[in-house]
Assembly symmetry: C2
Homo-oligomer: 318 residues x 2
């Protein structure tokens, strides 16, 4: 595996802590004809991703996590880890609108040895205060009450519409330096990522970009990797840039990744990702999405696949 | 009670159907010191609301519904109805991000005889299509599969950020004329309410405004009432305007309601409502909110109560 780990040592805590770094995929979730999660296909896809050198971030935005019930998320993680996947390569999304749900999912992940959890803020109410968001995260940490908890804050204002300010992160880091491990910045705004790196990057706060289009910039500025939709379909290419970001051809590698992103970006991302998996895994079932999303079908589906092939895109071994 | 009911008859379905109308409160949810729902205080408050002539819309935006787990919502409704409250005066909110949760809550409500359910669209993904939203509601109706299901669509773009277009409503009404019973319009935009009334108001689609400030306008244009935050603290005043909207002093009554709304509107609405209940019910516990909300305290709390008293506001009998 090309997921790298860094070891922290501490005289107070004799257990070596492992920090995840590298490229992770917010794993797309396959549904069967009854629109139930299809564990067999899910585990197959996860193993293909792992074999291509990346880690797993199940239950992210691209996983349709919030279209799953809490029970479904618990069960699917149990099946995944039960299949033999190393939890140190897994960072499940756990942030829900209700704190009690976030606590339950986070506790479940940490008790199963996961590398960390990716945590959305509660996202129903808008224009909430930093004080309210601080209490949300603090309340989860206090209630999970497990020293091994590593939270990666999930900043995705275009979707959640509730963002995480630098002042909030600073306050959380001060109160919970061990639990607040980093962030996934899906703002799509490099200035924000740069500010995060400058403010907190040197104090054990790990910055992951939410798109591989910013992976090279992130690595050059002290970031730790990317947690990106496109890692579902191009894990090898993205993990290769991660490993070779200091190589002379890094910018060329980045531009290939950008080209593929552009092709997918012509369509709604989740349906497009699932369409590609459906094509290369030769399984129409993979194209299915839960409402309110709509699958990519017909002419759009055909056009995407044609364009990808013409651009030399492939999902080898899938 | 002043909740009025209209009877539908049908040769195919011999059971008389009851349609709820009037004023309903999205009931605020009290929490104990462990931030768990406090059923005793909740039922007390509900009974006071009912005694003041209004109906109950538990688990709305002002109920912090999305800060509750699905299990908490099921349990609280069971306790409420188990206490003897007439389910024909109750319209619980049931719309979640995950369709399976919406199905579970809607089925539970309809099987317990509730007048209807207030249904948010899935609200995590933004800029979703009408096709995707149509499938969301259709999927819930098909899976609940109960002729008694009456859905009141919940249109609240300022919070959910996912709105319900006229074209979507028209399509839903065509496919599900019995299940789609009406809407709560919390857009705050009278033009939108007027369009809804003009387009669908005469065909058995019941329009409730989401603020009592539009109650008189709604009634004058064929609407059915209001489901409003302020009904938690001024049920008598609002239900009185509903009953007397054709009286000569209706505009005067409306302006009193508007004045009270303005005083509460200086502060975040839910903390302000709970602060008022805490004061008049003489119970500090009522002021508590779940994160990401923050309770109204200190000088703001004192100022609100002082201003309310100075304006002649009272919660008699609370």
């Amino acid at each position: 595996m090309h997921i790298t780990v860094a070891r922290e040592t501490s005289s107070a805590v004799p257990v070596a802590q492992v920090r995840i770094a590298g490229v992770l995929a917010p794993v797309v979730t396959p549904f069967d004809r009854e629109f139930k999660p299809d564990a067999k296909r899910y585990i197959e896809h996860c193993n293909w991703l792992l074999a291509n050198g990346i880690g797993l971030a199940p239950f992210g935005t691209n996983s349709e996590a919030n279209s799953l019930t809490v029970d479904e998320r618990v069960e699917l993680l149990d099946l995944l880890l039960g299949s033999g996947v190393d939890p140190r390569r897994v960072m499940p999304g756990t942030g829900c609108c209700a704190i009690a749900d976030t606590v339950r999912l986070s506790r479940h992940a940490v008790e199963n040895g996961c590398a960390g959890v990716l945590m959305l803020p509660p996202f129903y109410y808008k224009q909430v205060t930093d004080e309210g968001l601080y209490r949300s995260f603090a309340s989860v940490i206090d209630r999970v009450a497990n020293d091994r908890l590593k939270i990666y804050l999930y900043h995705i204002p275009p979707v959640a519409q509730v963002g995480l300010s630098l002042a909030l992160i600073e306050r959380l880091l001060k109160s919970y330096p061990s639990a607040i491990a980093g962030i996934k910045d899906s703002s799509g705004d490099w200035n924000n990522t740069k500010q995060l790196l400058d403010a907190f990057g040197k104090s054990g706060f790990d910055v992951f970009v939410g798109s591989e289009t910013l992976l090279l910039a992130n690595m050059r500025n002290g970031g730790k990797g990317a947690i990106s939709a496109m890692a579902n379909v191009n894990p090898g290419g993205i993990s290769s840039l991660y490993r070779h970001w200091q190589a002379t051809d890094a910018e060329e590698r980045q531009s290939v990744l950008d080209r593929y992103r552009k092709l997918f970006g012509q369509y709604p991302m989740i349906p497009a990702l699932k369409r590609a998996v459906a094509h290369w895994a030769r399984s129409e079932d993979w194209a299915r999405v839960r409402p309110p999303l709509v699958e990519l079908a017909g002419a759009d589906a055909a056009a995407l696949i044609d364009q990808l092939k013409a651009a030399g895109f492939d999902m080898a071994g899938r």
